[in-house]
Amino acid sequence: MELLSEYILEINHISVCFDGFYALTDVTTKIKRNSIHFFIGPNGAGKTTLLDIICAKTKPTSGTVVFNPMYKEPITLTGMPEYEIVWNGIGRKFQVPSVFVNLTVEDNMVLSLSGGKRIVDSILRTPSDEQNEHINSLLKQVGLFEKKNFRAGALAHGEKQWLEIAMQLVQEPELIMLDEPAAGMGKPETFKSGEILKKIKKDCTIIVIEHDMDFVKQIADTVTVLHEGKILMEGSVESALADKTVQAVYLGRGKE
């Protein structure tokens, strides 16, 4: 079967209204397969809300989100329960690191493995050697292998971020959404995350929300600038940086 579409995700006319306040107004965009797509914009622009809609944490007032998995029929994500969206190959990392604090780093990873999500499976099945190896190699990649048996709650903030990213990767998703993955990381660590993401890009598509412009410059293929719930502009990093309106509403504030 041929590849159906070069776009993995199609966001069509999404609007969200919270008690009369429009968090998003008629947002339409497409995400290219195997790219790193950034959503940037000032606080309250609706970036996180958009991710919430894609993974069904929030229901849109109108509009649809369509997912085009590789070699499969397109799937409409709107109206699907969140766990089924995960089964279809979409992972999400939250803004506040949310790992299972009372479980070990390894158990966190085991719970995130793809498949075996039914009750019977989780009682009877144990991870295969292959899966264990996958977990170990990912933990080595993010530098948490030595802390495998640590309680996740005992990790530092940056390490929790790493762990949550690794938890998404172990699911081998086709689309992965990262909400501020670099928050709480130092410059060298952020750079390292960027390099890892570039490597992963070969196998999946990555949507990132981030404020760190150096990070954006380092890895972004496409940038969508959101402002007050609307798309301000979309294009390459360079064009976004050069855009006058973008400078005025967002970038300008950061400059001294």
């Binding site: 329960p81 995960v86 939250f94 299972f100 604090v101 158990d107």
Partner: protein, 362 residues
């Protein structure tokens, strides 16, 4: 050796408890203990331990505080008592039905003529009710204190219904004048029956404990903890969380039903007071004091609190007992979140290290 204890401490403690219980009837036979009341009491404690294990699964592990497990406990108890009552009347209509104006045995009593169906009903009735309640509550994502309130309200409603339907349930008096499934257990002549019942109950406790330990040692158990600590993350790791919650809720209700059935055998009667909210909350106190999220803590708590109550709540302390237990509950919630087991897990290693340090110095 120390590591070994850390790993198998729970099972070792449980084995010790089981052994001590198993020796009890022998002590009676040897004449060291006399009077069967102690054994009847311990039998009830076994039932309490079983319901406490179920509560620990749903509260300690999954973080859902149910204040209505008395309902499931009583349902199991009534199912058992209905069978035992029919045994006592020879399958005929009972006195309270006559008084209530019934002329023949009501349909809901009919399945309880035979023991196998009764056993099925003991598990099935609480499970189905829990499934229906759980389905609607968990699907609509009601959680936290709202769930606790709903579970309490439903228990209250059920209790009122059981009192109101007195031609069928004998209202406030409950089902009385019944023997155990192995015949009468009162008096010296029937000691054999009592011992047999006691050991069967003990075996049930071991089974329930082993099954629960098995469940929590699997990925399933880790997932329960994951739901407790980060329900959202669990959804977005691809788990149908509400189904998991409902499963564990139904399982704990089934345990409560089994516990209720065992309780009736030792108690010799069942009344709606086992269905009240205060009774349900007492069960929660056992788990809290023993230690949440450990299974063994629930067993220890159930035995300890009941043994204290048994020995202390006689004579002048009857009135004070409620205050004591309330105070213990508050203290354990405020200062020892992990209960007794948590306290031991924290302090024993420290103590051992100190001992080791002293030994190496000397």
């Amino acid at each position: 050796m120390f590591k070994y204890f850390e790993k198998y401490g729970c099972n070792l403690t449980f084995s010790t408890i089981v052994l001590v219980l198993a020796v009890m009837p022998v002590l009676f036979m040897l004449g060291i203990l006399s009077g069967t009341s102690t054994l009847l009491f311990l039998g009830k404690c076994i039932a309490f331990a079983i319901v406490a294990i179920g509560l620990d699964l749903i509260w300690g592990y999954t973080g859902i505080l149910s204040l209505g497990h008395g309902l499931y406990f009583a349902l199991g108890g009534y199912a058992m008592a209905m069978y035992l009552k029919l045994q006592a009347t020879g399958g005929n209509i009972t006195d309270f039905m006559h008084i209530g104006g019934l002329t023949e045995l009501p349909t809901i009593w009919r399945p309880f003529h035979t023991l196998p169906i009764t056993f099925i009903m003991i598990v099935l009735v609480p499970s189905i009710l829990a499934w229906i309640i759980g389905y609607f509550i968990f699907k609509t994502r009601v959680k936290g204190v709202y769930f606790s309130i709903i579970s309490q309200a439903l228990t209250w409603a059920a209790c009122s219904i059981f009192i109101a339907l007195s031609p069928y349930t004998n209202g406030n008096v409950g089902i009385t004048e019944i023997k155990s499934i192995f015949g009468s257990i009162k008096g010296g002549a029937n000691q054999g029956n009592l011992f047999f019942l006691f050991y069967m109950s003990l075996a049930t406790l071991v089974g329930v404990y082993a099954f629960s330990r098995f469940l929590v040692s699997r990925k399933f158990g880790k997932l329960l903890v994951a739901i407790r600590d980060g329900e959202n993350r669990t959804y977005f790791s691809g788990y149908p969380v509400s189904r998991y919650k409902n499963f564990i809720y139904v399982l704990s209700a089934a345990f409560a039903g089994i516990a209720g059935a065992i309780f009736v055998n030792f108690n010799g009667c069942i009344t709606p007071s086992q269905m009240t909210i205060s009774y349900s909350i007492t069960m929660v106190i056992w788990v809290a004091v023993g230690g949440r999220g450990t299974i063994i803590g629930a067993v220890i708590g159930a035995f300890l609190i009941n043994i204290c109550e048994y020995n202390l709540s006689s004579g002048s302390t009857v009135e004070i007992w409620q205050y004591i237990i309330g105070a213990i509950f508050c203290l354990s919630i405020l200062f020892f979140k992990g209960g007794l087991v948590g306290l031991a897990q924290e302090k024993v290693p420290l103590f051992m290290h100190k001992l080791a340090a002293k030994a190496s110095k000397a």
